[in-house]
Symmetry: C3
Subunit: 203 residues, 3 copies
């Protein structure tokens, strides 16, 4: 993908996951995540790499829960969270590693807005229609004046810190024990944080 090559040239030390996030962040068009359910780990990193997230207030939860495997976010997550929420709340999200409800993530700036589930579709349709109406050249002009931050140093540090954790004996044990379980089922996914904490506590 030539666009990923461009990202790789701009950020020579990024990993592939960070590259995908940077690709999304660097689009001349506006990316909107419409979220009705739960997103965690890499899924939650995709959310924060988008330009905007609009979420159903009653049902959405977000978790950056990689720490439960003895690792940490490694696809822009720490840097995007810091940009949206500031260091204190980003840190709380990553080391707390728990699901956070929609009202709280809206207050923290993790998402743009939480809306009543019944209104979410029409709200997103309207904003998407409005953005399309103003023309791609206007959108591109606005995005020039509001460029995504230069994360060169942050991505390097995130990648290095994550890689050190992935190689750590504790993470290896943790991921090994988890891989032996049947975690990618609907039931497990519903309380993945609880499951991972139980696995970790038994190592």
């Amino acid at each position: 993908m030539p666009q990923l090559v461009e990202v790789a040239e701009k950020y020579p030390t990024v990993n592939v996951h960070q590259g995908v996030s940077e690709l999304l962040r660097g689009q001349p068009r506006v990316s909107i995540v419409k979220l009705a359910g739960v997103a965690c780990a890499a899924g939650a990193e995709f959310v924060v790499a988008a330009d905007m997230t609009l979420a159903a207030a009653e049902t959405v939860k977000l978790a950056q829960n990689e720490a439960l495997l003895g690792i940490m976010p490694g696809g822009d997550g720490t840097q995007d969270l810091r940009e949206w929420m500031g260091r204190a709340r980003a840190l709380g999200a990553v080391v707390g590693a728990d699901l956070v409800d929609a009202a709280t993530v809206a207050q923290h700036g993790w998402i743009n807005r939480a809306l009543r589930a019944a209104e979410l579709d029409s709200f997103v349709d309207t904003i998407a229609h409005n953005i399309a109406s103003i023309g791609a050249h206007v959108v591109a002009g606005v995005k020039k004046a509001l460029p995504s931050a230069d994360l060169t140093e942050g991505l390097r540090v995130e990648n290095d810190a994550r890689w050190a954790l992935v190689q750590h004996e504790r993470a290896q044990k943790n991921m090994g024990a988890t891989a032996e379980l049947d975690v990618q089922t609907r039931v497990s996914e519903r309380d993945i944080e609880g499951l991972l904490r139980r696995v970790a506590s038994q190592l």
Copy 2:
């Protein structure tokens, strides 16, 4: 105005509208906007250039709606919005180009606080009196430790991006068609976003 000359020397590429915003941003005293109604476009840029905005929760709405004319904010608006709300919400405001209610702008940091309309006057009187009481030298000291961000690069990009849009055929048509209408009436102003969208959709 000698102060505008100073701004022009500090930021050699700013336009006059940006210069006025920078003049307001750079005051040694505290500027407070007390807002009870609707502010949009250049009016909304004046709001965000002030140090603080206190707003009536029931009646205030803000819109950075220039995109509806095929242009974009060009008087510090994109940069001030980014400083107060972060990139995601600033972008949403500018490309969404719609009125946003007081509760949401307070949550996003677009203003300092939304207060019940009945309390707004006394709240602002109290804070203005308190600020006056501590003395201009204390205010100036605090503002030294909390300087406005250096927007040199951001203002240059905002000005260039806006100027390119103003010269674009689409904006010329858009502004031309709007100028032929009687838009600066009370009725038109009450739904200026709707009116501008209808004009744009018929070009």
Copy 3:
């Protein structure tokens, strides 16, 4: 304390109070303030130097009220407030110099979250337990990717601005008159802002 010497070497112009805040900010572990009551002045600066603050919604209030003595925060307070809340709200807090309720400080980002008082202990216990469970090496890795901002210039300006105010005749009178009163009693502390305003108005 060897750690303070390290801070002093990193920030050669900091004062001791700023040094203590930097020491707290620079910890490889996560510092959590659990707050059930009122914190003001240096106490409030301690709060914002910590990584996270969780507060009782019904009872917590915060004030950065040094301006009432004719001085200003001088222990990282202005810089930490700016990092958590942005310039507009930090400025409002410091020159307003008034108590702010928990719901507002949570909305502004002055703290991480306000929780019902009845839930505060168990919430903090859970997050502390969860952080301990992921291991100190994971916490340290995350903190590397989310370093505290470099405040070298901000701390220098804060220290200089505060020192100029401390030496000002007005502050000397103000602090002198206050020192003669019996302010460190429970009753006085309950309305310290009112008391200091009355003292200042009579100078």
